[in-house]
């Protein structure tokens, strides 16, 4: 039997995925722009760092975030001492961890979209006196709609399915940082397979619906 409070992990997961995706939109678009159009070699370093969460085990990333943001670290103690902000085992910490972990899922598709835009269009805008900001918002982004939607959907759905990073940095605290993926793990450990199945079905159904709608509509979006 399920109780209303059992939906808390679902609500928390959706809240985390939504917030992380919003933050990723704000930082992912300029980052993708910079990586695509920058001419410095530093971009290769940044590109590599952005993509590393794709290849690293989530526990490695979670471990280092735990060390970096924990009260024993200089960053963690600075934030706690001067701003009374604690990041580990809090929802804010989860958002930070998710943003870093899902960064390649937002940046890489958008970067691919930007790279596909003919340079001649950008040159045409330059000869019309347009600033870089105008070119980004009025030429590049409108011509990158499928890439943007891919980045947004993949980031959201990837955050929904996170386990390792959020477990390490969030601590699996009921009502605060316990997400659906952790709730499934807890219920299986307690041999409550019905409850685990309840959460698992929600995950499978939500993932299927989101991906189905994405594939259905993304091909229909006409850039031109």
């Amino acid at each position: 039997m399920m109780h209303p409070q059992d939906l808390t992990p679902v609500v928390l997961t959706l809240k985390l995925a939504t917030l992380s995706t919003l933050v990723l939109i704000v930082i992912g678009i300029p980052l993708a722009w910079w990586i695509t159009f920058s001419k410095t070699r530093l971009r290769y370093v940044v590109e590599t760092l952005v993509t590393m969460p794709l290849v690293l085990p989530p526990t490695v990333l979670g471990f280092y975030l735990l060390l970096l943001l924990g009260p024993a670290s200089s960053v963690g103690s600075f934030l706690q001492h001067y701003f009374d902000v604690r990041l580990v085992f809090t929802f804010t910490g989860l958002v930070i961890g998710s943003v870093i972990f899902s960064l390649p899922f937002m940046v890489n598709p958008i970067k691919a979209g930007f790279e596909a835009i003919p340079n001649s269009l950008i040159e045409a805008a330059l000869t019309l006196g347009k600033s870089k900001r105008d070119i980004l918002f009025k030429v590049i982004l409108p011509n990158s709609k499928p890439a943007l939607i891919t980045g947004i959907v993949m980031s959201f759905i990837h955050t929904v399915g996170e386990f390792g990073v959020v477990l390490m940095i969030g601590g699996n605290i009921p009502g605060k940082t316990r997400l659906v993926s952790m709730a499934i793990f807890d219920q299986v450990e307690a041999l409550n397979y019905d409850a685990a199945n309840f959460y698992a079905v929600i995950m499978v159904a939500a993932s299927f619906v989101i991906l189905f709608l994405f594939y259905l509509f993304n091909r229909r979006i006409k850039v031109f």
Partner: protein
Amino acid sequence: MVQFNLKKKITTGNGPVLLDINVSLGVGEFVSIFGASGAGKSTILRMLAGLAVPDAGSISVDDAVWFDSTRNINVLPQRRSIGFVFQEYNLFPHMTLRENLQFAFDGKEDSQVIDDFLNIACLTEVQGFKPQKLSGGQKQRAALIRALIRKPKLLLLDEPFSALDLPMRFTLQQEILKIHERFKIPTILVTHDAADIARLSKRVLILQEGVLHEESQGLQIPKQL
């Protein structure tokens, strides 16, 4: 008055060549640059527009210096007051024709000016179409008025007729002449087609091995390049 002397090493089909050009254009003058494909004609226009950086030299338009290698001046393309009609037109595919013009016109909703230009180019009927629905001739005219609507100090035409069939080419050449007569903007046309020049330009510069020669200096336009 437009003056430029520019040097740039480029690689052509015949190997590396030093572009070394020195040109002055009078007020409202229409000059054609004629040369083989890959000889560096488009590079000249790109340097004037600020899309390519010369190795050395200077560009001045009226009282403004756009480029001067000795004084380390290189004005950004967006601050150069140029109109550039590209070979492939480069109209923005997500905008209608009218939106392309509004975007060029600094986003100002000055409908009368845009209406006038649409009327000049006989494009009023198709102003709501996106570029992929326009014919080759309509795209060419659209690119031309988009370049002109900002009233640039220098108009650059990069092989603008290459994608058009002969009748359309002839019609549009007449329209360009009419528009040039009306706006008197110094214009440089780049082409590898001698027929374009015969119809359009009194002054012709021939690009050979990186150097521009006045046609009147005894050089004749070859029938085939």
